[in-house]
């Protein structure tokens, strides 16, 4: 390869942007779904009921000891079997990401809930709240507010992680670039472009997170 030809980027911009859009979609599903499931699992991790505590703990520890790629493959095989019919790359990737990221979100949620003083909980109980209402109106809202920086950091990680959906052939951003590369043989330009786009998004996000953290710290 002699000279660089950056023209390859604008020429295939639409295709690449479609990939980036898929990446965003997957990240959104993974973050929202992962957080919701993560809140449930995080609460279960703090449960005093053993049949709730042990499965949740096992789930978190197993997920956190597996590479994401393997989890993606897992659901790539399992989802069609459970559904009884092929469900497509995007769907099985979504399930894999929600389940995998839930384990990480759960640990953040657990730490967040633990950071709320037990006085709050006792006060709620003595005012006549039951467990559900205490969690729903007192603990979770405060805990979530405290967790925001860690949750945002994790969201950036999830966004980066979505690139692994590449392995099951999902046409996300990286896969789109590699498809274009196979045709145009412009590896340097394409992967540099992908890297720069990811960098700009993640850098901006983490800088905003840091600023938020500093603001919180002073408040």
């Amino acid at each position: 390869m002699d000279a660089y030809d950056w023209q390859v980027i604008p020429n295939n911009l639409q295709f690449l942007m479609q990939g980036l859009f898929t990446t965003f979609q997957l990240a959104l599903v993974a973050i929202c779904g992962g957080l919701l499931l993560g809140i449930l699992v995080g609460m279960a991790r703090l449960s005093s009921v053993r049949v709730i505590y042990y499965p949740a703990t096992a789930f978190v520890n197993v997920m956190r000891s597996l590479p994401l790629i393997l989890v993606i493959f897992w659901f790539y095989f399992l989802v069609p079997l459970m559904a009884g019919r092929p469900m497509g790359d995007f769907f099985s990737a979504c399930v894999a990401f929600v389940v995998f990221e839930a384990a990480y979100f759960a640990e953040i949620v657990r730490a967040g809930i633990q950071s709320i003083s037990t006085g709050q909980e006792q006060a709620a109980y003595s005012t006549g709240f039951n467990y559900r209402d205490t969690m729903r109106y007192i603990i979770i809202p405060q805990a979530l507010r405290k967790m925001v920086p860690s949750l945002l950091t994790q969201a950036v990680v999830v966004f980066q992680d979505t690139s692994l959906a590449y392995v099951i052939g999902l046409k996300e951003f990286l896969r789109s670039a590699s498809i274009v590369d196979a045709r145009e043989m412009r590896s340097v330009e394409l992967y540099a472009f992908v890297g720069v786009v990811y960098f700009l998004i993640c850098f901006t996000m983490s800088k905003l997170t840091k600023r938020l953290e500093v603001k919180r710290g002073h408040a």
Partner: protein, 242 residues
């Protein structure tokens, strides 16, 4: 059409069992090599970030930001596909053509650099968490700058850094699975190859999962041992379950 016949013996029949063992060996080798290179690089870069010399600080900050904010897979692809044509000719010849199983060493470069940027952050945080008073107290007792670091700051910082470094060590081993995308024959690659040959995807993936869980458990045990040996009573209070 989508019913599934389990055949667990596939994991240890020839040649698949052999493949799995080879994959495990590559995973362990890759993880260990990357871990030690990343640790060395990370300590250097992390130290750059707390030096009083500004250019080094800026370099350290740029290094960590760049390698942390780009997904590892993109970085690996860059090293694998793009780097050969921008690196100097001599390095390219040596790394990409000269070496046997060059993919392995390309992943070593990519994964080490990526991990080192994350380790550097932990090192920096650990160093900065030591109160300035310790430093001033040491200097006023007559310690030199070097001695202060050698006897006061580093011994404390190392202990504070141990838990995050344990997590990072686990991450390295998990991240070696990404090497399959550039054709390194490690555990995940082998499990998927067994799937491709036998269609027994669940068994093969289960086997790979057990391997990673075993590696994770070993790392947690080893690092826990080191942590306990180094622990200063009362310095780090462990919180949370375990």
């Amino acid at each position: 059409m989508l019913s599934y016949n389990f055949n667990w013996s596939i994991i240890w029949t020839e040649p698949y069992g052999q493949w799995m063992l080879e994959g495990i060996w590559v995973t362990i080798r890759l993880g260990l090599i990357c871990w030690f290179i990343a640790l060395a690089l990370g300590i250097i870069i992390g130290t750059f970030r707390v030096t009083p010399f500004r250019p080094l600080r800026v370099f350290g900050a740029a290094y960590t930001e760049i390698f942390r904010d780009i997904p590892l897979l993109v970085q690996l692809f860059f090293w694998y596909f793009a780097a050969p044509s921008i690196l100097p000719k001599a390095i390219e010849m040596w790394l990409y053509r000269g070496l046997p199983n060059s993919e392995f060493w390309i992943v070593v470069v990519g994964l080490s650099v990526y991990t080192s940027s994350r380790i550097a952050e932990h090192i920096r945080a650990g160093m900065q968490s030591i109160s300035q008073d310790q430093y001033h107290a040491a200097l006023s007792t007559g310690f030199t700058h070097f001695q202060t670091y050698r006897f006061i700051i580093i011994p404390y910082a190392v202990r504070i850094m141990m838990p995050p470094l344990t997590a990072e060590c686990l991450t390295v081993f998990k991240n070696t699975a990404l090497a399959m995308t550039v054709g390194v024959l490690e555990t995940t690659f082998m499990s998927q190859q067994i799937e491709a040959y036998t269609f027994q995807g669940i068994e093969a993936t289960t086997a790979a999962s057990l391997v990673y869980m075993g590696i994770t458990l070993s790392v947690v045990l080893i690092m826990g041992f080191v942590e306990r040996r180094l622990a200063v009573p009362g310095l780090i209070t462990r919180t949370g379950g375990r």
